[in-house]
Point group: D2
Chain length 426, copies 4
């Protein structure tokens, strides 16, 4: 199923009137405060977020999974789903693949399908946390950090293969998420596991094409419940430095202990030029992988405030790779992703509104009250007219969820794919 520009334009007509006046009223207010609204709108329109191929079906927990009709059955259908998202939102111009779940059979066809939908291939993802059928070695006790050399070697080679696949698709980065760790004290020697991890990453890094980046993800726990070998940003940062200049830390919002000040981590990494990628989701308790902005939207805004600051002030830091990494246990995955895309752009837009000059001046004067007022003035602004305008600019839907429902997309997908399909993924 594909959506044409005309279908969307036709739906947009109904909402055009309200949007016009709201946009004009907001524009006037923002221009009065010194903002260039046209520029703001374009920046928002340019902000693109990758969709992971494994998040297009229903997610589950260890207690089970409730199915979703019309799940994509293969890479082609996954690309089609992301294409739908991009057509509706104008914000999902990239897809992030996971190997072995998405190994292409026909590279050319895959590339063409993506190009037609306006999608690029963002970071490639390897999988060394599950045993594949027929695998020679098991990852039950680790992959890149395993005390067994054979397991480590298999994991390194898998990553090299993922790079090769990515090269054929035009991807430029590899994300390594290591589930390696321990469920019990004593199970592993921390120092030796770390040493082996550094060594394995070095080997992967050595095979990285010149124009690629390596993203090293961290996570404090799960699926191991006592320790994870790359438990925090400090460990990831240390390993990235060990590898070299093309290695970076990747921040996933859900991968932190309770109460962590994530925006400060972001600022520190950008200060050092080492923030490579970002995985969006939201959570209340752990790595809950909920819709972005559904639980702590102000924290998301504060993080974007640091990202915007870093993008402007840290020339050594590359432009980060953005990806949504959420699980869809009770919502239609496509609708859920539309909500996440909206929340990300909302936080980005509000961060763009922060009066950085006034903020710096208030900070220098220790005017804490005014610092807070400046941030909250931006946050309290209803930026939805800007987000809608950014979509209008690029031919996407003013109201993407409304359009998705009016066009009855899920029913069409179900008719086409069936009710009992299961997408590869978590």
């Amino acid at each position: 199923m594909k959506l044409s520009k005309d279908q969307i334009a036709s739906l947009n007509k109904d909402a055009a009137g309200g949007q016009k006046s709201a946009y004009e009223f907001l524009s006037e207010a923002l221009e009065t405060s010194g903002h260039d609204v046209g520029d703001l709108t374009r920046q928002i329109a340019d902000f693109q977020i990758a969709i992971p191929s494994w998040a297009l079906g229903a997610g589950g927990t260890r207690f089970g999974r409730f199915s979703m009709p019309g799940e994509p059955r293969n890479l082609e259908e996954k690309l089609a789903d992301v294409g739908l998202l991009h057509a509706l939102t104008g914000a999902a111009g990239a897809i992030s693949l996971h190997i072995p779940w998405d190994t292409p059979e026909d590279y050319k066809a895959v590339r063409e399908q993506a190009e037609e939908a306006g999608l690029v291939f963002d970071a490639m993802n390897s999988n060394t946390f599950q045993d594949q059928k027929g695998a020679g070695e098991t990852y039950k006790f680790g992959s890149l950090s395993n005390s067994s050399e054979a397991s480590r070697q298999q994991a390194v080679e898998h990553n090299l293969e993922v790079i090769r696949i990515g090269e054929n698709l035009g991807s430029k980065s590899l994300t390594v998420w290591l589930a390696d760790g321990a469920n019990f004290p004593g199970q592993r020697n921390f120092q030796r596991a770390l040493d082996r991890t550094a060594d394995s990453l070095e080997k992967i890094y050595a095979a990285l094409p010149e124009d690629w980046k390596l993203f090293i993800e961290y996570k404090p726990y799960e699926p191991n419940f006592y320790s994870t070998v790359i438990q925090d940003w400090g460990t990831s940062f240390m390993l990235a430095n060990h590898c070299g200049p093309k290695a970076y830390t990747l921040v996933d919002l859900g991968h932190h202990l309770p109460n962590t000040n994530i925006e400060q981590i972001v600022a520190t990494l950008m200060y050092k030029g080492k923030l490579g990628g970002f995985h969006f989701n939201d959570s209340k308790y752990g790595d809950d992988d909920l819709t972005v902005g559904s639980i702590k939207p102000y924290a998301l805004f504060l993080i974007f405030n640091e990202l915007v600051y870093g993008i402007r002030n840290n020339p050594d830091n590359p432009y980060p790779a953005w990806m949504i990494d959420a699980s869809h246990n009770t919502k239609d995955p496509l609708e859920d992703l539309i909500q996440s895309l909206e929340a990300i752009r909302e936080a980005y837009a509000k961060a763009l509104l922060v009066d950085q000059k006034a903020l710096e001046s208030a900070q220098m004067e220790h005017d804490v009250v005014r610092c807070q007022e400046i941030l909250q003035d931006a946050y309290r602004t209803d930026v939805r007219p800007l987000l809608r305008q950014a979509r209008l600019l690029t031919g996407a839907a003013i109201d993407p969820i409304g359009a998705y429902r009016k066009l009855d997309v899920r029913r069409h997908l179900t008719d086409q794919r069936g009710r009992e399909t299961v997408a590869t993924g978590l």
Copy 2:
């Protein structure tokens, strides 16, 4: 120092134009969605929050305290400070006293001063967590739960005295916060301490005037760091039921373990008709006592969503007593309280905007996506024009912090009271 209506009206003139058009634009949009904006504005204007007498000076931590010039030196000056807040915001129409810090010498004068400033006396607060000079018994090892009968009796009698003082001022409720607990396992017998607490509360309850309420606060830790005798809402609720129909649970936002779903606690208590009072603040780590809405404004909105629902649907639950309970370590306390008052009314206004009928319908259909859209539509609305209009309605300042600064209030207070004053409190 007092502010006249004229002083404020004169300052309001400058901002009147922008407010008029913003209010009209928002009103039109809200009326289109079926809201009665005049009624909304009045509801917001009617929402009054008590200021605690102990929060008008600089707060501190166990690592020390940095002073604030012009702190109030006595009850009269504390009343004056709250009067200033109320004049500026129209939202602080009550004061909550703490005994022995605020024991009046001349009840008539105190009542008259309050009345003139438009203030009522909200819940009275007792202090059994510190030893007063010359006290016969120590609270080092507890008060209402102490294994020493003499300490318990002193604590009970102190609470009875607080009630008597409150009666003379027109207060109608007593808040009991117990610091009692243990720093170490084994230090106390949980069951016996709970039993003694129930017994002491019963004695206080027995002395409660007919038209009074007893609020029982809970807190998981601090100042005791292993256990607190009333550690959670369940314990408070159990004790309130033990006492009788005039006893209620009091919720302080900062008194919860990491990740607690507070809005669900609020809903449960109102369902049972047992939510008596509410202490506002915000926090990232523990009982940080930061400005309301400065860290987790969406959580505050979700809590208000339950409060608004309960006020409408739980006739057995009394209208709750609202109070700010924050500490002002680096901000001017009066500016800080203005920010808190604004954040509370903002959350309240947004909760009033939630389309409860549509929400119920979406819930019944298990349309999770739409449920979220409905809540977030209300939350994303910029309600500041409503808050300003509510202030205009009651002669308060459109921009309270701006007015406070233009009128140079802190300088006047400092000139009058001195630079090195220290308010009684924490």
Copy 3:
């Protein structure tokens, strides 16, 4: 596979010498401090813990599962596994079944097999968190709390069926664990969900046989990640009171927010006569379901200190139902359970050693240092000679894991059942 008393006795011979002298040395020390060591040993030997039928195979996470050879394929093999555990440890004299995973076909045969192995049927467990094949209604949006009456009714009837099955086996209690909750704010109305839950539980309670108990479990999150309908002990306790005298709260160690003082909850529930059951496991981050005592053994001891106190001092509280509720992702489940059984009895034994009289006296004198010394004196004692002696008394193995390995149990089970079996469960 079954183990005979002779097989075990023969293995015990090797370790008998060391055990004899260690037991005598410890006995002398304990008798000097006033303990009756024979009585202690018998109390330990009498302490029996139920094994859940679903924990005999490899567990997993949402990221996958690594298999374990020789998993039991049906109820008969599960009973055999628990029989092995009981033969080795003398501590696992009960099994807790889960319906529909363990619905017996031949009740008589099942009862006879259990009896022969010395096992009784502990609490029955229902499952309303997964959809069974061919089920008329889905639990995707809840079971006992679902806004759909049909779903609620199906869930209630399932529980009634579980009771009927349990009656045929001689079980005397039903544990209700509700996964019901929400992943997102707004998804459900807290008050209505609670009301429906109370109503459904009432219906189940009404069908409870005269001599049965109903255990209501609580959990703050997972598999729902925003709210759970029975989120904490306070909610469970409220619902148990609503149902009646045969309804009790069940505490699962992993079902608490970070830093919760669980021992105080235990004390409060026993004080009120409402602690019905207990699920043992350990955790560092969330409901990690790790081996009992592997992470926080001192916390376990403090909990047992309250349990022992309550068993002695709260005649209104029934003797609690004990069960292990852990997941075995990387260890052999049977070895893992042996470690859990050992840790539970260790904590119990140490709690029995606490000098309650001296403790009470130190508490009355506010001698905090001595209170701590008394608890830690018990905790620091190496009680393993007592645990071994308790096993010797009942014909179990001095060294259960050693025996399990020497007898090559897993290999025998694998030969018999196969390498790729998967037990029903999580």
Copy 4:
């Protein structure tokens, strides 16, 4: 007040018999498992922990403080208190001073007093979290990270002065704990604050004598409740690397977010040769500063397991500086410190018992069950006979708290110093 060897020896006589047989019985068991018990005992006896000068009086919270009679009034009396602790325990052979609270007037006298008591001067501590009377600049908005150059300079110079004082006493290290941070989002620019901190630390580092070390402490929150400039080990490690080879990270057990795996941090730092110092305490909720080992003794053991491993295997890591950093709110500080000293040595002794060779072998075989058994076998051993023997070896008391009470030390101190003394400190 001083304790003579004779006084202690006389008290030891009573307990000598029991100790002799317990030590012999344990020794036999340990020798059988291949331990050299004489060597173990000597290692324990050699383990010395510094006492901070500010922890000899009653601590408090922001809610107040309950006094303790006989608190030391000056540096001389603080040295006397630590001398008493060392005489009783043989474990407190060092004192850690805090400037300006402990600025000596007569260096020679202070050095002689320390020497006579067998004490050395461990790390010096600076104070830039409080304003001293007459200070030119305030630290209200930070010290080494302050945007005000004058404040930064004052803070740097204070640290240089602390070094000079330390040089006169024979200290060899400086601990920098920065309270700097923010209470509110936006209050500070993370990147600039970090940059200024790096710059200030560089200046201090440049003044460090050749044979000194700089310890950089980290802490996630308190006294600032939104962010701390050095929030975690990663930031401290980054800054230490920035400074140079004499700069190290200092770990304080209480300075971590909920559920942090501290032992892994210890292992990582030692692997990199960057663990310089260690502050002991215990906690349940935050930086509770409770008696070491009173809440999570197993976690302490796991940390010591890594420390012992690192001391043996990381030649690049210096031998760490050990210090107790606890607060004594309800216990006699001296008794509390004795309990802490005992808990530290207990954890150390148990870590020495871990069979590292067997553990490595079990780890290589992925025998997770056995790994746990090995650690727990060491942990479950009652090592108190070893600790007592280590004290006997060095002329300290078999039962230090018993001796302290029999000798009525607190009464003597109170008679000498008075009931209402207040020690400088927190």
